[in-house]
Symmetry: C2
Subunit: 240 residues, 2 copies
DNA sequence: CGACTTCTTGAGGAACGTCAACCGCAGTGG
DNA sequence: CCACTGCGGTTGACGTTCCTCAAGAAGTCG
């Protein structure tokens, strides 16, 4: 028993240092942990539960379209509340691990009880959902009318904001890529080939340097930021 | 004074019959109404407030990219809680009315007090945000890898689910289009010209009939549903 | 080392964006 | 009453872009 406790105590305690959970009083956060069941997940594992917290790693909601098209419509990162319950049961999609991750399953009825007795937890969950909705809007902006280069640049900055980024990497403009190339493609709505070509292009222009597959150096941060915000539109068809 | 009360009493009372607000106890919902300031909005009006409820009409969050690209990253419809406050103040975007609408502004600190004293309201807001996040995921799925035809078909079904749809229209497979063609375009990430061409194409195939500009009849609902769910992928480059 | 998956590179074409012009309609003013 | 104007929407021609397909390279695991 003590052993089992230990197994999840380490990463799961860590999430209490993350916003917004760190704002909770100690007793509440302890409740939170005790009520959760930790799941270790490998890449590709499907989570058959729609309420919990990501202790570490990366999860996503995956949907399949005809023609083998695969869509990643949301990314959940370390510290995120995952609450994908919904009233209308349409097109739910599967919650799937994109890399080695830990998921702290929460019991639904128990959580409901908390919400009734404790407005702090309710407020914390509200701020989480609000934040995730805001991130979804940002992502939508990326998808709606940006070019692949702009989309990828924007995604790099999103990864830069992930809590895994250590302060040193952040200072040095190093971004860790937590997911595979094809997952990136499914997330930003292009094909893996295009992701590859875009990265190659940015390297050629000396805007980034790929240290390792999952480690990219933003050599020209201002330019990259400009591109991410929409600074590289489709070329006009008419010559100047 | 009585007159002013009357002005907003009518549409704003109506929203209490909508999910999830209708689940609230009468005294709480009355508080909700009293605390709000109703704003009448015309198409194009910008709302400089990030907390409230849509009494009727349609609002959207609009962002501008370089090159004159305009993005509508979320739609808010009748009954929706609009809570777009966020911790990181990046790329906020403007909340703008897409047609004649009424917005019930809520006071932030007052709402905060409610949440502390009343878990019912907290739960209601939670379920609202959860639902909107779910809708955002659906929209993301549409944007990521669907063709324009699929995107538009999907949007028609979204409009069909809007609370304005009267039961009769629903039975008769009539969809009311609440926003302009160019807003549709900015929302599904294509150009107005493409929207026009797609509609024309669907009409030619006898899948829909356009009664009026803002009234479309789904002549072949099953086919349309199939298309909306991804049934019309990009044509292969290789001949069969 | 070989079997495997993931990523990259290359060629070619469909598709959607770009531009420009036109249409229909509503409001305005002579 | 009609010309004028402005706006939203539509149509057509054309070209860039990114997807498709296929094959090779690189990384991963037994």
């Amino acid at each position: 028993m003590a052993q089992i406790q230990r197994v999840f105590a380490e990463p799961d305690q860590a999430l209490l240092t993350l916003s917004p959970w760190k704002e909770l009083d100690a007793p509440h956060s302890a409740d939170l942990l005790r009520a959760g069941t930790p799941d270790m997940l490998n890449r590709g594992d499907v989570v058959d539960h729609d309420l919990g917290i990501v202790s570490f790693g990366a999860l996503g909601i995956e949907r399949a379209l005809s023609n083998g098209r695969r869509v990643l419509c949301t990314l959940f990162r370390k510290g995120d509340l995952v609450d994908v319950r919904r009233t209308e049961r349409i097109r739910q999609g599967a919650l799937v691990a994109l890399k080695r991750s830990s998921f702290l399953r929460l019991d639904e009825s128990l959580t409901e009880t908390w919400l009734t007795n404790n407005t702090d937890i309710a407020k914390t969950m509200l701020s989480q959902l609000r934040e995730q909705f805001a991130r979804a809007r940002d992502h939508t902006t990326d998808l709606v009318s940006k070019t692949p280069v702009e989309k990828l640049a924007s995604l790099l900055f999103e990864f830069r904001r992930w809590p895994e980024t250590c302060p040193e990497d952040h200072r040095n403009n190093i971004v860790r890529i937590p997911i595979s190339r094809s997952d990136i493609a499914s997330y930003i709505g292009v094909k893996p080939e295009t992701v590859s070509r875009v990265i190659k292009k940015l390297v050629r222009e000396k805007l980034i340097i790929v240290h390792k597959q999952d480690r990219i150096y933003l050599a020209d941060l201002p330019s990259m930021r400009r591109i991410a915000n929409g600074g590289r539109p489709r070329q006009s068809t008419r010559q100047a």
